[in-house]
Structure formats: structure tokens, C-alpha cells
């Protein structure tokens, strides 16, 4: 029994060394892409996970214009209690939303009775907040049981650098002095209970306190909030959720984490780099397969003449050579994917530690999903077939008389 692929593979085996060298190039290309997508892609999703789960959530809702003036932490751009209720009503009815939490944000002076400094604060409802930012507790310097609320009324959590600079230890009393909306100043005493690590992004250097305390300190009547952070269900599309909410909540602005965190740019760059590496791989495959196939056609002109004379249709001749290019690509792809995945598993097993900015002790756990591997494999095979098309076409257009006369 013969078939087009059997013939293709035997023809490839005819020039073993050349086939091996070309396959090796494809293997290197594929392996490089798998390793790079696996490492960079996992780094990216890990960082996104950390940032969204421990600080900014997936989505945030503010009064229109708030994000543009976020640096001054304005108090006159809060959502009123009625607005918050309306938003809550809408959010409760959305199956794509897992949890949401209100926050009041403001700037204050922090004093330990000896010196004072300015501090930015996120005032939260701890139970709700921890449903949205499930990894918030991991940023606390002291160990914390995630089942417990991270703070109670009367307590504040202070950013690490302020605690260090002012030598404030957990348990120490501190005073927060804040100016409220109409310009009057108010100060209250709290207990500092924990120190929190900084993280990239807006609010990443904030201290935390209870939302009720903040309302008292700022003399806010009713349930005003500055922002609402949202956690979406794992498979929900953020953009779709945003679109849906926008339609129902005019006058408010809704942002995904990508619009809020500078890490989105880094993530974009990582994606761009992955694409670049893929393009390099495609170029390698195209050039090497094209080269081999052109040589193959040139070496087998008389053979092509023979089968053409016998009555093999041009389309069939083309098919023979395309199958050869495809087989060459397949050989390299399979080997490359296997090696690449093996490389990723090795990196995972080595548990390599790294730092990113002020985040320390991160462990790289590269992952690549099957669909990504399939995409890479298909791209290579497509490139191999594409590269084989021109030589194959050339073979199919040969006149049997000329080809047979060729020595």
C-alpha cells in the first residue's frame, strides 16, 4: 500500500542529514516559542493575578471624572448613598459578578505623637473587600488567617515604608487628621495593627482602615463611597461586563484593571514579545522548508517528468510535494512541542525565585495550555505548507517532455 504521505516521508528520509538539519531548525523555533510563551505568559498572568486579587480587583466603578483626578483623592467626587444603592442593585442582578465592595479613599496626616506624615487611605468593609481582593491578606507583613477580617473598626493598617520611617510597631496608637469636603479638619485616634507591603498600581501604597471609621473621620452623612471594586466570575469577559454595566449606569465610569494599572503596559509588551518570537519562528520555518522543498523539486525533475508522463494530474503532483513540506513541518513541530513542554516542566520543578519591583519571593510556575500548544503547532504546519506551495506548484507545472529530458 502506498499513499501520498508514505511517499513524502520516504522522500524526506532519502536525504536524512538535510531533513534532520531542517527539522532541527524547526524544533529550535518551536521550542523557543513554547518556552517563551510559557515563561512570559505565566509571569504575566501571575502578576495580573497578584495585582487584581490583592489590590485593584477586576473592575472599578467611580463617579465620572474620578480616575482622571485620582492623584488628588478628591472627596467631592464620591457616589451618594442612593447612587451606591442603585449600583448595588444592578450588580446583584449580574450573574457574571462574583462580589463587589465599597471603598472610601482619602488623604490624611498620620501622627505617632512624635512626628507626622501624609498617607493615602483606602477605607474598606473588610468582609466584602476580602471577597473581592481574595489575596489582600497576603500583603500583610505578619501572618494572617484569611478567614478573619483583616481589620476591625478602630484599627488601621499602615504601609511598610511609613511604619519603618516612623518606627511604628503594631499595637501602637496613631492619630489620623483629615480635611473633609467642606474644609473643616478632624482628627481621631486608632490602633495600628498591621503593616502592609506596597504593590504596583493605584492604591498600591495605601493604608487601610474601616469604612465606618472613615465616614466618621470625614463626617460623611449616609453611605457615600468613593469607588466600588468588583470581582468577576473566572470565565467572564471583563469587557462584556463593562459594556453591560455602562448601559445601565449612566454618569458613572467603569474601568477594567487594565485601564487602571500600569502593569497593563508591561503585559502588553509581553504579548508583543511573544508575537515577535512567533514571527521569528514562522520565518525560520518558512525559509527552511522553502529551501529544502526547492532543492527537492530540483533534484527530482526527472522523477516528476516520469510520473507526469504516466498521467499523474498536476494537482496530485502538487499534493505530493505539499505533503512532503507538511511532513517535514510535522516532524519538527512534534519534537519542538515535546522539548518545549519538557523545558517548562523543568523550570517549574526548579521553583525559580524572582523579584518584581518591591514584590519579593515570587516563584515562577510556568504553565501553557493545550490550546496554546495547538495554536503554535498549527501555525508551524501552516507555515510549512505555505512554504511548500511554491516549489510544489513549480513541480506541477513542469512539462513531462522537458522534465524527462533533464539530466
Amino acid at each position: 500500500m502506498i499513499n501520498i504521505f508514505k511517499i513524502a516521508i520516504r522522500n524526506l528520509m532519502r536525504y536524512k542529514r538535510r531533513t534532520m538539519l531542517t527539522s532541527l531548525l524547526i524544533v529550535i523555533g518551536v521550542c523557543m516559542v513554547v518556552l517563551f510563551s510559557g515563561l512570559a505568559g505565566s509571569f504575566k498572568s501571575m502578576m495580573i493575578g497578584i495585582i487584581t486579587d490583592s489590590s485593584i480587583g477586576h473592575l472599578q466603578i467611580h463617579k465620572k471624572g474620578y480616575v482622571a483626578s485620582i492623584d488628588t483623592l478628591p472627596l467631592n467626587m464620591n457616589l451618594s448613598a442612593e447612587q451606591y444603592k442603585k449600583v448595588a442593585g444592578v450588580l446583584d442582578g449580574k450573574p457574571a459578578i462574583e462580589a463587589y465592595a465599597p471603598r472610601v479613599k482619602f488623604g490624611a496626616m498620620l501622627s505617632n505623637y512624635a512626628e507626622s506624615t501624609s498617607v493615602r487611605l483606602s477605607a474598606i468593609d473588610p468582609v466584602r473587600e476580602q471577597r473581592v481582593c481574595t489575596a489582600l491578606y497576603t500583603r500583610l507583613k505578619n501572618k494572617h488567617d484569611p478567614a478573619e477580617p483583616i481589620l476591625k473598626p478602630g484599627e488601621v493598617i499602615i504601609p511598610e515604608r511609613i511604619a519603618k520611617a516612623m518606627k511604628i510597631k503594631p499595637g501602637a496608637p496613631v492619630v489620623l487628621v483629615a480635611t473633609n469636603k467642606d474644609g473643616s479638619v478632624n482628627g481621631m485616634e486608632y490602633t495600628m495593627t498591621a503593616v502592609i507591603e506596597d504593590i504596583l498600581g493605584p492604591g498600591g501604597k495605601d493604608g487601610y482602615m474601616h469604612i465606618d471609621d472613615a465616614r466618621k473621620l470625614l463626617r460623611i452623612k449616609g453611605g457615600e463611597v468613593t469607588e466600588i471594586v468588583i470581582r468577576a466570575k473566572p470565565d467572564a469577559s471583563f469587557d462584556k461586563v463593562v459594556k453591560g454595566l455602562m448601559a445601565e449606569l449612566p454618569g458613572l465610569e467603569i474601568h477594567t484593571w487594565e485601564k487602571l494599572s500600569p502593569f497593563a503596559n508591561i503585559a502588553g509588551m509581553i504579548d508583543l514579545m511573544i508575537i515577535t518570537v512567533k514571527i521569528i519562528m514562522i520565518a525560520i520555518v518558512l525559509i527552511s522548508v522553502l529551501n529544502v522543498m526547492l532543492m527537492s523539486v530540483f533534484e527530482r525533475i526527472r522523477e516528476i517528468g516520469t510520473i507526469a508522463a504516466m498521467g499523474t494530474l498536476p494537482s496530485r503532483i502538487m499534493g505530493l510535494f505539499v505533503a512532503e513540506g507538511f511532513s517535514l513541518g510535522l516532524l519538527g513541530t512534534v519534537a519542538g512541542l515535546v522539548l518545549g513542554v519538557a523545558g517548562l516542566l523543568l523550570v517549574k520543578a526548579l521553583e525559580i525565585n524572582f523579584e518584581f519591583g518591591r514584590m519579593k519571593g515570587l516563584v515562577l510556575r510556568p504553565e501553557i495550555n493545550v490550546s496554546e500548544l495547538l495554536v503554535i503547532g498549527s501555525i508551524v504546519l501552516l507555515a510549512a505548507v505555505l512554504a511548500a506551495l511554491q516549489p510544489a506548484y513549480k513541480a506541477s507545472r513542469m512539462e513531462p517532455v522537458d522534465a524527462l529530458g533533464h539530466v
Binding site: 502506498i2 511517499i7 520516504r10 528520509m13 516520469t306 508522463a309 504516466m310 498521467g311 494530474l313
Partner: protein, 236 residues
């Protein structure tokens, strides 16, 4: 009615400004079931004539009819189809496909050109390999058998599709005399068994006598072969 009818076939090649006539006004009928040979010196037009009859080259003028079908105006694909369905080819240097075994080489036309079902394929390939005495070498690759054996396999390959006409351009030129005669005997035996018509060219007078019909060819014209044979023999 004759199987092949050539009427006023002319063909010339252009080399720059110069026209080289390869065939001029060839008119010829070939009957079914004959072993027909064209003999002539180098450059006389044998290959050109076989290519025209074999539907691989078009004449400049004149008509070619095979089995009552005009074939001189077929397009590439039509010509390939016609060749695959009606003709068999044997080549001077055997032209077996090196990556295929003897069996697979004979199977090739049934599989890649005609779409014969597998069981029938196997049966026909084995029948032909037995007929040419190569059944016991079926699994070998072409580079493991001798030139004479390769040409036997090529004969089997040309015949496996049961063509009306088999064309062979100098099929014995790469063989020693004894093997050449063997191959000729084989063609005759196949003609007897399958009723196939064979057309072959040669410039070897010793082979010619084994054909049923002999046509001399010189400067692209059919000539009286007997004088021509003597003429050639006197050179020996």
C-alpha cells in the same frame, strides 16, 4: 480500424532564428496488437514522434487520433488524463521511483492515477509481476535489482492499467544485447497475453528484427526501412 492514425504531422523546434524541422508530413496508421518500431539515427525525430503520439507534445500541424479520439488539441490536464487512462510508458533509463518498492512502483498508476480499489490493485500488481517474472522481488527497492530487472518492472508498471497503447523511447538502449532481447520477448509475450499495442524506438538494428512492423525514420520523414537498415548495418 487502426488504433493510431497520424495525418500530415509536422513539428519543428525554434532555436533562436533558426527553425529545426523534427517531423515533416508524417502520415501513418498503426494497427491494434502490433509490436511497432521506429528506427533511425540520432536526431531523426523518433523521440519527437513518440512524444506526439504519447500526448506529451503537440504537433505544429496535422492530426493524431488514438482509438477514434483526437488527441492533438488536448489541454495539459486533459492530456494527463488521457495518458493515465489509455497509455503506458516505458523509458530508456527505466525511471522507477526510487523510494518505492518493486510492488509499489507497479501499484503507483493504479493508486495515484486510476483509483482502483485495494483488493483489485493487489491482484493486478501480482499478476503483472508474475507475468514479467519479478514476483519474487516485489519487496525490493529498484536500486537492489539489475537494469534488466528494472526494465521488466517498468514493463509491468506500463501494463498494469491495461492501456491500449504502450510507448517506449529506446527501451533497450541502456541494456546489453541479451537483456535487450529478453525485454523485447517480454513485450511480445505481453502483447500476446493482453493484446496491447507497443510502439518503441531504437537505433539498434539487431533489435529491430523482433518487431512486427518496422518504420524507418530519417530527418523527420518516414523512409523505406530495409535500405535504411542495410545502410546502418554497413556502418557496423
Amino acid at each position: 480500424m487502426s488504433l493510431v492514425q497520424l495525418k500530415d504531422i509536422s513539428k519543428s523546434y525554434k532555436l533562436g532564428e533558426v527553425e529545426i524541422p523534427a517531423l515533416s508530413d508524417v502520415t501513418l496508421d498503426i494497427d491494434k496488437g502490433r509490436l511497432v518500431t521506429f528506427i533511425g539515427p540520432s536526431g531523426s525525430g523518433k523521440t519527437t514522434l513518440l512524444n506526439v503520439i504519447g500526448c506529451m507534445d503537440r504537433p505544429d500541424s496535422g492530426s493524431v487520433t488514438i482509438d477514434s479520439r483526437r488527441i492533438d488539441n488536448l489541454d495539459r490536464k486533459g492530456a494527463a488524463r488521457f495518458r493515465g487512462e489509455n497509455l503506458g510508458f516505458i523509458f530508456q533509463s527505466f525511471n522507477l521511483i526510487p523510494v518505492l518498492s518493486v510492488f509499489e512502483n507497479v501499484e503507483y498508476p493504479l493508486m495515484m492515477i486510476q483509483k482502483t480499489p485495494p483488493a483489485e490493485r493487489r491482484e493486478r500488481v501480482m499478476r503483472l509481476l508474475e507475468a514479467v517474472g519479478m514476483a519474487d522481488q516485489a519487496e525490493k527497492r529498484p536500486d537492489r535489482i539489475s537494469g534488466g530487472q528494472r526494465q521488466r518492472v517498468a514493463v509491468a508498471r506500463a501494463l498494469v492499467t491495461n492501456p491500449r497503447l504502450v510507448l517506449a523511447d529506446e527501451p533497450t538502449a541502456n541494456l546489453d544485447k541479451k537483456t535487450a532481447l529478453d525485454v523485447l520477448d517480454l513485450m511480445r509475450a505481453m502483447r500476446d497475453e493482453f493484446g496491447t499495442t507497443f510502439l518503441f524506438s531504437t537505433h539498434d538494428p539487431r533489435i529491430v528484427e523482433h518487431a512486427d512492423v518496422i518504420h524507418g525514420i530519417e530527418d523527420g520523414k518516414l523512409v523505406e526501412h530495409s535500405q535504411f537498415l542495410e545502410g546502418m548495418q554497413s556502418h557496423d
